[in-house]
């Protein structure tokens, strides 16, 4: 609470704050650009994490410790990590082409983005260049969290309550779009399951695990059968099969 009080009292821009800003701002910008630029979705997400972390620090710097912490804990910690898990579970689909098919789309998008940024930035510069920041003391007079709470329970109480509608809608939407309810007649009992298992053409045993080699233990590497051939059944279907290179196949001097 003391650090917060110090920051809140300061009002103006202190040296430490400036230094932090000039270090983190390029990082945040880099993260944002990287999010768009990266070809790999996992990399994109990680770049985004960087940007969000920087933003969280900015909020704290600007005497908004609550929102800063929420940013870091909820967005960066929870949501983005969940996002990463999902990405890794699903696996990156290599078939997605990243080649732009629309002529001029990228150039135009970059130019327009720069134009929009320049427009807003110059506008803000003109408007705020000489202006002093005001009102921080009043906003944090009773403490930052208390200040937010006061707003949430007075002026924005209705908006706050209505967000519940958003959350319920989101939950219902996820259910509707993702959940398939199995019909009763499709559920198989033990006998039927067993019959299906031992039906001709179905292999009743468990599937083999992926191949484990000295140089590679990826789940994408298929296992070898006793005859030396590779088995596709050892690899999850959604993953692209990893080809063994010459080096992988070469004897490692451990065969004695």
């Amino acid at each position: 609470m003391t650090g917060q009080a110090v920051l809140a009292a300061a009002g103006g821009v202190t040296g430490g704050e400036q230094i932090t800003f000039w270090i983190l701002a390029p990082l945040a910008l880099m993260g944002a650009i990287g999010t768009v630029w990266a070809r790999n979705a996992v990399h994109s997400a990680l770049w985004l994490v960087l940007t969000m972390l920087c933003l969280g620090v900015f909020y704290v710097l600007q005497s908004g410790p609550f929102i800063g912490m929420v940013q870091i804990i909820v967005y960066t910690g929870a949501i983005m990590m969940l996002f990463l898990f999902v990405l890794m579970l699903v696996g990156r689909d290599a078939s997605d082409s990243l080649i732009e098919t629309l002529r001029g789309q990228r150039i135009a998008a970059i130019l327009l983005g720069l134009g929009f940024g320049a427009l807003v930035a110059t506008g803000l510069w003109r408007a705020l260049g000489q202006a002093d920041a005001v009102g921080l003391e009043q906003a944090n007079a009773n403490g930052n969290v208390q200040g937010i709470a006061a707003l949430l329970f007075t002026r924005y109480v209705f908006a706050f309550e209505i967000t519940s509608a958003l959350l319920i809608t989101a939950a219902v939407g996820a259910m509707v779009l993702a959940h398939v309810e199995r019909r009763r007649q499709d559920r198989m009992d033990q006998v039927a399951t067993m019959k299906a298992r031992f039906r001709p053409g179905n292999y009743p045993g468990p599937k083999p695990g992926p191949g484990v080699y000295a140089t590679s233990s990826s789940v994408a590497t298929p296992a070898r059968l006793p005859d030396g051939g590779l088995t596709e059944r050892s690899v999850p279907q959604i993953l692209p099969q990893r080809e063994l290179s010459e080096e992988d196949k070469a004897l490692k001097g451990t065969e004695k």
């Binding site: 705020l128 208390q146 007075t154 509608a165 319920i168 809608t169 779009l177």
Partner: protein, 518 residues
């Protein structure tokens, strides 16, 4: 520290709360009622809730209050537009609940099933549609009711999201042509989020402006009263104000489908299940314009000299784009989508007239257009063949021979869109253009009349096609509507006729309501 909790006038909020409550009950129904009975339960619940909300609106008719800590304003325009949304949503709910035109209704049973798989074909053939659409619709309607009543930008933003999110979901749930439907939902969602971001950015800038305008020491705010005061007597730099207003208006113009923010409209209108398309075309338009009207009339009226040229240019562009692009459309739903874009332009003409006349004529237009467009999409649901709705225009050739009644009704609705006298299309255009002329915005009216002429062409092309072409092998049959569609269709057509022949009562009502509390 002691907090003074705000007084909340629950009676004034009743329409919103009733629908919100009903949608929660609807979610519970999904959990606890057996699947077979859900459809009927949800439909009855939905219609009852809308009736309840309408009753609440009527009981509130004399209310002119700002409540819930200044976040919600219940006044004439709020109540008029809330009533309009509730009535139109009732019609839309009838279309949504129709199950006799197509087995199982217009919605898919399990959206997660892979498109085209045997499982999918089975569910398309004989499973009842997902009943979650009812609570989702009610969520959307309650969000719309709040949107037209919101008295600060933050509440407005939450309301915007609260009615958009269910719509994104509903768009994805078509029973036929599911890939198109899912694609449209994703597009709508992505672009909607994009536009929301602009709105938020604008809100931040406007907040900054009010802080600066208040001078050192006083807090700013995003409620319309504060903004209004700041706009009227401000010494601060107005760059923040105008950059903020520009960005805010982008978010709103996206929702009303004004060019060049209309790009999502044709794809989404085409892909979404037709009852949802009708719902969006009627109710979303009313809600979005309700919000825009309040923003322009209450918060930023002091800056009208500055925003009128810009938004006027957008109105002209919208009318032109809608009219010109409608000319070459070959799909009836896309045609109606472009017509709705053009109508957004006409409505924008009215919305830019910051007088009582402008307000009342715009509100009248919204209601009249809502009825007509819902009925038109109702007819579209009926023209179908074995694969579902036949929306390609060539399939409509000779429909007048196959089914004179529905072709006749559709012709009437098209004539209303074209603004032929004795239809509501004429009276509403007349009212809006008249108000704009009185306000000296004759350039907007000229553009409006010229584009109306262009727009008449695609409508008449459909009419000619239906009546003067011989029905071919591929001319689809027209299903006999079930009671619900028939009722919705009848309400829409009768309203279109009555508002064209005797518009005075509704005009008087709109006139009496055309006063914001400030």
């Amino acid at each position: 520290m002691d907090l003074k909790l705000p007084d909340i006038d629950y009676a004034a909020l009743a329409p919103i709360l009733v629908l919100f409550g009903a949608s929660l009950v609807g979610v519970l129904v999904e959990a606890f009622i057996p699947r077979k009975r859900r459809h009927l339960t949800q439909l009855v619940l939905g219609l009852l809730a809308l009736t309840g909300a309408l009753v609440a609106v009527v009981l509130n008719a004399q209310d002119r209050v700002v409540t819930a800590g200044g976040a919600v304003a219940v006044d004439g325009p709020t109540l008029f537009l809330q009533g309009a949304i509730v009535v139109l949503a009732g019609m839309a709910l009838m279309l949504i609940g129709e199950r006799s035109v197509q087995r199982g209704g217009a919605f898919v049973a399990h959206a997660a099933v892979t498109v085209g798989s045997p499982e999918d074909q089975r569910q398309a053939a004989d499973e009842g549609g997902a009943t979650e659409v009812y609570p989702l619709t009610l969520f959307a309607v309650s969000g719309m009711l709040l949107f037209v009543a919101a008295n600060d930008l933050l509440t407005m933003f939450i309301a915007l999201e609260a009615f958009s999110l269910p719509l994104y979901l509903l768009c994805a749930l078509a029973r036929r042509r599911r890939l198109l439907s899912q694609e449209s939902a994703l597009k709508y969602f992505l672009l909607g989020s994009y536009a929301s971001a602009f709105f938020l950015f604008g809100m931040a800038l406007v907040y900054g402006f009010t802080v600066g305008a208040g001078g050192t020491g006083s807090g700013g705010g995003v409620d319309f009263g504060t903004i209004r005061t700041a706009v009227t007597d401000s010494a601060a730099s107005e760059v923040l104000l105008f950059a903020g207003l520009a960005l805010l208006s982008i978010g709103l113009l996206f929702k009303i489908a004004a060019a060049p923010f209309h790009v999502w409209t044709p794809d989404v209108y085409q892909g979404a299940p037709t009852p949802i398309t009708g719902f969006m075309a009627a109710c979303t338009k009313v809600a979005a314009f309700g919000g825009l009207l309040r923003v322009l009339h209450v918060a930023f009226s002091g800056a009208s000299w500055d925003f009128t040229p810009v938004l006027g240019a957008i109105a002209v562009l919208t009318m032109l784009v809608g009219a010109i692009l409608a000319v070459t459309q070959t799909d009836i739903k896309r045609l109606l989508a472009y017509s709705s874009v053009a109508n957004a332009g006409y409505l924008l003409v009215g919305a830019l007239v910051l007088s009582k006349d402008g307000l009342s004529s715009t509100m009248f237009y919204l209601v009249a257009y809502g009825f007509t467009v819902l009925a038109a999409f109702g007819v579209v649901t009926l023209v179908r063949d074995a694969d579902g709705e036949a929306t390609h225009l060539s399939r409509w050739a000779g429909l007048g021979r196959r089914s004179p009644l529905y072709a006749g009704l559709f012709t009437f609705l098209l004539l209303a869109f074209a603004g032929i006298p004795l239809t509501s299309g004429f009276t509403s255009k007349f009212a809006v253009f008249g108000a704009a002329l009185d306000a000296g915005q004759s350039w907007l009216v000229i553009a409006g009349v010229l584009t109306s002429m262009i727009l008449a062409f695609p409508y008449l092309r459909v009419v000619v096609m239906m009546w003067l072409s011989e029905p071919g092998e591929s001319t689809p049959t027209v299903s006999l509507p079930g009671g619900l569609t028939a009722a919705a269709l009848m309400i829409g057509v009768v309203a279109t006729l009555v508002l064209g022949v005797a518009p005075a009562p509704l005009l008087d009502l709109a006139n009496g309501a055309a006063e914001f509390v400030r």
